[in-house]
């Protein structure tokens, strides 16, 4: 079976409730030549963009606005865009289980500009031309799903 893989630039969804962190992330993503198709601060906000976008990559915080959880968003993302790659971006990496609810990786906060750039380059390879070459950047912890799929 021939699989159609996305080509760069990637469409990226950013789920983060801190407005300035979301802006910073969006600009870092655009610095790498990708497109931010939406920013969302909660499960509700993600629900609203289902059907209007098709992100290849989702950066996902755990603690969201209105007390909503990134794990719920993770489930919604997988239901809405089954081919999208999910990376948790959290200050609480311990809370993410090893199977990671279907996500491909975890980036610990605080992140750095270089960490995000390297992770994006690596993830782009995984999404567009798997498997990604070389070692994953230090900041990106791979999940079981990552190892199985790529």
């Amino acid at each position: 079976m021939r699989v159609t893989r996305p080509t760069p630039p990637l469409d990226v969804l950013i789920v983060e409730d801190e407005a300035l962190i979301a802006l910073d992330l969006s600009l870092l993503v655009e610095d790498q030549g990708h497109r931010v198709v939406a920013e969302a601060d909660s499960l509700d906000a993600v629900t609203q963009v289902v059907g209007t976008i098709a992100p290849n990559l989702v950066f996902l915080d755990l603690h969201l606005a209105k007390g909503q959880s990134g794990f719920d968003v993770c489930r919604l993302v997988q239901a809405a865009w089954k081919d999208s790659t999910i990376v948790f971006l959290t200050a609480n990496p311990d809370l993410v289980p090893a199977h990671c609810c279907g996500a491909h990786g975890v980036i610990s906060k605080p992140f750095t500009r270089s960490g995000i750039s390297e992770a994006l380059r690596y993830l782009e390879q995984g999404i567009c031309r798997p498997p990604p070459h070389g070692d994953a950047p230090e900041c990106l912890a791979k999940t079981d799903n990552f190892k199985n799929q790529w």
């Binding site: 992330l25 990496p93 605080p110 750095t112």
Partner: protein, 336 residues
Amino acid sequence: MPMVVTNPDLEDNPIVFCNEAFQRLCGYERSEIIGRNCRFLQGPETDQNSVRRIRAAIEGGRDIELDILNYRKDGSTFWNALYLSPVRNAAGDIKFFFASQLDVTARIEAQILIARQKEEIEREVEARTAALRAALDTKTLLLHEVDHRVKNNLTLIGSILRLQARRITDPVIASQLSSMLERLDALSAVHRQLYESSDLAVFDAGALAETLASGIVGTCGRNDIAIVRDVSSVPVPSSTAAPLGLILNEVITNAVKHGFANGRGGTLKVNAKSDGSSGMIAITDDGAGFGTEPPSGGLGSVLIERLVRQIGGRASWESGHPGSRVTIVFPVHESD
């Protein structure tokens, strides 16, 4: 000592002899005692298992020693240290049973009291342990929450600085802001490692040096700098982690930015080891070197000088041909 003799050849093994001490102990007259089976001393609180053991000893013709709760004529109770043994004739047949009694109420009650107190204390200890465990859980939870907030704030500060950096056109200010971001990155690396560490009191400075070296080289996007590691674990008190992170950041950044300036690539060596009382981290580059004097005047050298003093360590600078080597020596965490 109170004593009785029973005759097993008669119906129901009745008492055929008792002394005065026995009468005083149980409060019955001799006439009320003779002819009765010993079980008339038992009452509702008497342990049936003890009764069964006595019966088995009599049936088996063995002697037995046990404490049993008995009742006086007036209904009051006493603990009886009973000793019972068969008396045989020359042919070895059991002719009588001999039983002596001793009122050990005081001893048994003391034992019961002690057992009850022990139980109570154990219950209290258990309750206290549960309370302490709950308090510890709460503390751990709070610590995690504080830790989470610290990291969220560090992330936010980083985002704000990066957003500001995008608006700055003056290259000098931009480079200074970029140095600030690098220092923040170093502190962030420290906090990530603190959070991942299982022991809150001890921090591995060797692991931090490795993380910072690859982070800083990565940040500069320098593929022409190879990192060589010779690093073992260097345990330091957690309070040393942040200052040490800032020191190492300055030293490594210096090597990358000045040693490997103007497109000059090379090798960055990270050494870390501990001899149990002091730790050593050395950053060596084979870049341009700094001549005879270490770089001075900038905020970087002020940071290094003050922070090295703060952690009770010392820094030495050597210029090689080529390159330079900076060695930081500092006290390690004393293990027990």
